[in-house]
């Protein structure tokens, strides 16, 4: 299994291929979203909805043997791609790996520019919520 930073580097490399082509970046994000495992619709309840997102984003954490797994979904394709990026990096990691991550890829791919400040806030909300779950399960351990 690749390290968190190896995956971040891959993401940065992938995005750099598109150079300034914003549209292709968004299509790429949407493709990422499509490749996600489907989320159990029973888990798509208000308590697992991320606050502060303009779209609906659900993040459902599953903690087994010290490892966190995330089921995610969204009602919009691009947001689904965004949360897919986080899943790519953080799925099947320990809480402490998650909590110790420096998410440098965000700045390196120029995320702010790509999705604007309002959606950036939503994206920050996803990160915060995933880290909250990591904190919760870490102390639970």
């Amino acid at each position: 299994m690749k390290t968190i930073n190896e995956i971040q580097d891959e993401i940065v490399a992938d995005f750099s291929l598109f150079e300034d082509d914003m549209e292709s970046k968004l299509f790429y994000l949407m493709d990422l979203g499509k490749k996600l495992e489907p989320m159990d619709s029973a888990h798509q309840t208000p308590e697992f909805l991320i606050k502060g997102c303009m779209s609906k984003v659900w993040v459902y954490p599953i903690f087994v043997d010290g490892i966190l797994h995330f089921e995610v979904d969204s009602n919009t394709e691009i947001t689904k791609g965004l949360v897919a990026l986080l899943v790519k990096i953080w799925n099947n990691r320990t809480p402490s790996e998650i909590l110790n991550t420096d998410l440098y890829f965000i700045a390196q791919i120029g995320m702010g520019n790509m999705i604007g400040s309002q959606r950036s806030n939503g994206f920050a909300g996803m990160i915060q919520q995933m880290k909250l779950y990591a904190t919760a399960f870490q102390s639970h351990n």
Partner: protein, 410 residues
Amino acid sequence: MNQSIDIASIRAQFPVLNEQVNGKPLVYFDNAATTQKPHSVINALQSYYQHDNANIHRSAHTLAARATEHFEATREMLKLFINAKESAECIFTKGVTESINLVAASYGKLVLKPGDEVLLTEMEHHSNLVPWQRICAETGAVLKFIPVESDGSIHLETALACINSKVKIVSMVWVSNALGTINPIQTIIETAHGIGAKVMIDAAQAASHFKIDVQALDCDFMALSSHKLYGPTGLGVLYGKRELLAAMPPYQSGGEMIKEVFLTHSTYNELPYKFEAGTPNIADVIAFKMALKFVSDIGHDSIASHENSLYHYLLNAINHASLKQLKLIGTSSNKIAVQSFEIESLHHFDVGLLLDASGIAVRTGHHCTQPLMRKFGIDGTVRASFAIYNTTDEIDYFIAALQKICHRIK
């Protein structure tokens, strides 16, 4: 009177049209949300603050006299623009929203009794719905709605049938911001007057597209927003017939709107000042005159003709491009140049972002018409709305972007 107009020279008056968005030239198709501003408006703001800025009315110094004169000149221009009988019937507000709140709170409260009806349509902007919900809750009046048909229009006969003797106020949108539908307000006004009801027209979307004549329409109240009419943000207009405005209690109170103030009671100023409490939005009022002049100079006929031809070009292009996943919302034959649509399997929000990646600005969402969206069984649309400075080249580029999107999601 439909002279052909030089769109290039019109575009040259709008500095924002030179912007690059995501490395692409801006294509601004979000005009129903707010229009861009010509040089003359921007310069008027700048010039006011550089040369004339002062608080207006009742003052002895030159700057204040100059500012007052320019301020009242806009009111005179406005009177001509909407053909009001007198300029005192034109009241400056923050925008359409405030104009409607004013009428609901002041006139609504004055006349509505339990059981009376207030008649709206199902396509109202929230700004012409929520204020009436609240005043009805307060007075015991009942809200009724003219239904919207599947093409986004209202049937005139159905509408007229809603106008019964219980109706005291009809308040309706002239042109739907979400769909572009033009409503048959003239006949509705006549019929409403026949049973003694008063009619308020939300002209937010109408004013930049065709000529307004409040005397010919004979509407009782009308609301406009400057920012949708090539003018500054933060400014609107309430037109009202003198006899109605004169009988209404003030809305907000404070400086400017009073005549005599004692500790325990006050008497109120004449129209229009009675409804203009506090220091007004002086600079924006003054600059708004240049927006009215911009529209008048081109002429509403030329504007309508250019925008209509853009709209037909768009519909044609959509047909020829055979965008199978694209579904139009709002297909009435009587429309301004506004088109809402959905793309199958894509959220409107994603479509908006993808178009933005190509530099194209459209609005996405419920367009402040949630009940209308609910009626169509959707939670929002993508909306392209045109103004005088848009071109067929931009439409070609837009269609190409839509094709690319539809192709990718196949």
